[in-house]
């Protein structure tokens, strides 16, 4: 029984962390119509940033500044934001293809640099030597995991509330206006490029937060954690949940992460030994089918965006 509960805690923790990243993507794609093909890079920047800033000194690579944990997380989020700002400044004035290609490119380059730069991030071996905060007080066991889950849930809720307020605010209205009709927004004296950049960087910072929590949870991050697969998974979560709907995004995350782990378990349990090597391929085909299938048959997702008609005097 305790096994089931601790597995549920583990599952909910990872799913909630991913849900934060999906919320960040929802701000970019769902609310602003910005295509981010490199979620893994911003997620990874958060994880690497946090672990480098908050870790203990290690021989052979940078890091071990042993910063106070919340500061390290903020640093990780800032790293994700800076990365997004660089890509955004170069592309957001241009046609949307460029953003898609550049964000995809930044993820390829990020993974590539992390894999090769031993001095910066430990290279392919990954980044070790991070002490999880409050480990002395809570130990390493079940209690710690419960406490960590609570922290993650609080941050998920905080992100959700922040985004709901943002979307309901005049800024959120502006985002939708630009998404629907850029020319009209510009004729009202708004600057679409700057607003887009703000939304893009904010979304990336939220992904950075998710990455920071992910790195903290495992006290380890390696290039394996920032493969393009992560980007695909996070998209599938958003598309299934319903772009533009924050609650849908969270539900989509739990659905897809559940399906992903269940299919992984089923393949490892029931597939013959010689097919095990191909279990990953089967899962990727499934996630590709989910993405394409949703776009063809239910592009609005399971929980569509509720269109808000804003009138003067209302929210």
């Amino acid at each position: 029984m305790i096994g089931v509960i601790s597995y549920l805690v583990f599952f909910t923790t990872v799913a909630s962390i991913l849900a934060i990243a999906v919320l960040g993507l929802n701000l970019q794609w769902g609310n602003t119509g910005l295509f981010n093909g490199g979620v893994a890079a911003f997620f990874g920047a958060g994880a690497y940033g946090t672990l480098i800033l908050g870790g203990t000194p290690q021989a052979g690579h940078l890091g071990g500044f042993g910063l106070f944990y919340p500061l390290a997380v903020l640093g990780g989020m800032a790293a994700a934001g800076v990365l997004a700002w660089i890509v955004g400044v170069a592309t957001l004035r241009l046609r949307h293809d460029y953003l898609a290609i550049s964000t995809f490119g930044v993820a390829v380059a990020f993974e590539n640099v992390m894999r090769n730069a031993e001095a910066l991030a430990g290279g392919a071996k990954g980044l070790r030597g991070f002490e999880r905060p409050l480990r002395d007080a809570l130990g390493d066991g079940f209690v710690y995991n419960i406490a960590f889950l609570l922290v993650v849930l609080v941050l998920l809720l905080a992100t959700y509330l922040f985004l709901e307020r943002l979307v309901g605010s005049p800024f959120g209205r502006l985002l939708r206006a630009i998404r629907e009709d850029e020319t009209a927004a510009r004729s009202l004296g708004k600057s679409p490029a700057r607003v887009r950049l703000t939304a893009f960087v904010t979304g990336a910072v939220i992904m950075g937060l998710a990455g920071a929590l992910y790195g903290t949870f495992y006290a380890f991050v390696s290039p394996q954690d920032v493969l393009p697969t992560l980007t695909f998974q996070i998209w599938a979560m958003l598309i299934v949940g319903g772009a533009g709907n924050n609650r849908g995004a969270i539900l989509g995350t739990f659905l897809i992460w559940g399906a992903w782990t269940a299919s992984g378990w089923a393949l490892s349990r029931f597939a013959p030994i010689e097919a095990q090597l191909y279990a990953g391929s089967i899962q990727y085909v499934l996630i590709g089918l989910v993405i394409v299938g949703m776009l063809l048959w239910r592009p609005q997702g399971l929980f569509p965006e509720r269109l808000v008609v804003s009138q003067s005097g209302q929210g």
Partner: protein, 304 residues
């Protein structure tokens, strides 16, 4: 130095072939097609299958052509593979892109292409295995072109380069001398105006996919000849091919050709300053540099 330049030209020819089709599709259908590079994989594997088939059916064809490892069987296989890859590009359009397009969701096309790329790549892995394969088990030694500076090249690579240049010349003649070429360029420039002039847009879209798929298949086979065939060809080449289209300017066929060579050469010259492990990052640096300095590429026009 010269060796890096030569290697750059050889890989550049492959990128150019991939980029021609991609730039036409991106311009005409207005979306970044992330599944285009998977057509290279399809082409490479299709040629592998046809090659084996021909060698069994007609052993006469299994002889090597001169100093090449290429056989007549492979040449025939390439032709069939181009047709098959073109046909699969049309099929993907029918099954996925056209249906998403008709819903009017321009941005969703990019999503769909990502999903499609994931499916194609992993199905290829499931069917053919994740290991690498070669067209010919015979070892072909590189030929020494000159000793000082030392210049090595495989005969296959030179043949591939010559074929690429010949095909580009042919494409140039078709584009600049025939009514069909005018129609194609007209559609790429302004689809609506082209339709007013009686050009069948649907037909042109099919032709662009066929052409793009065919050239991609050729690129895939040439890549397989000079490196090896694996299910991740598409994954590894998608970014360099995009970089080539961006350098050349999206929509410009000549730009794509030049862009391919520029990216190929730049990536190889980068080996002077960067350890080779970092070469997958070079296309991204090129993309960012072009977007900052000359956002519409060398030959592209501004369009939002």
């Amino acid at each position: 130095m010269i060796q890096h330049l030569l290697d750059g030209i050889l890989i550049g020819a492959i990128l150019s072939l991939g980029a021609i089709g991609l730039t036409m599709v991106m311009h005409m259908l207005r979306f970044a097609n992330f599944s285009h590079a998977e057509l290279l994989s399809i082409g490479a594997y299709a040629a592998l299958v046809f090659d084996k088939l021909f060698k069994v059916l007609m052993p006469v064809l299994a002889d090597q052509i001169g100093p090449l490892s290429m056989t007549w069987a492979l040449v025939l296989a390439i032709v069939l593979s181009m047709a098959l890859t073109g046909a699969s590009a049309v099929l993907f359009d029918r099954l996925v892109f056209r249906r998403v397009r008709e819903k009017g969701e321009e941005l969703s096309m990019v999503f769909a292409s990502f999903g499609l790329a994931l499916i194609v790549r992993n199905v290829i892995g499931l069917v053919f295995g994740l290991h690498t394969q070669l067209y010919s088990q015979d070892i072909v030694f590189a030929v020494v072109l000159s000793r000082d500076p030392l210049l090595l090249v495989k005969p296959d690579q030179l043949a591939a380069l010559a074929a690429t240049l010949a095909i580009m010349a042919a494409l140039h003649l078709v584009l600049s001398r025939t009514t069909f070429g005018y129609a194609l360029r007209a559609v790429a420039e302004n689809p609506v105006l082209a339709q007013v002039n009686g050009i069948d847009l649907r037909r042109m879209i099919v032709i662009v996919w066929l052409l793009g798929g065919g050239l991609a298949s050729l690129a895939g086979v040439f890549y397989g000849l000079s490196n090896q065939i694996s299910p991740v060809i598409g994954r590894d080449l998608v970014l360099p091919i995009f970089a080539a289209t961006i350098v050349g300017g999206i929509g410009s066929i000549y730009g794509a050709v030049l862009g391919g060579f520029i990216v190929g050469i730049a990536a190889n010259l980068a080996l002077f300053v960067l350890p080779s492990g970092y070469s997958p990052s070079v296309p991204f640096l090129i993309i960012i540099a072009v977007l900052l300095l000359r956002p519409n590429g060398l030959f592209g026009e501004a369009r939002t």
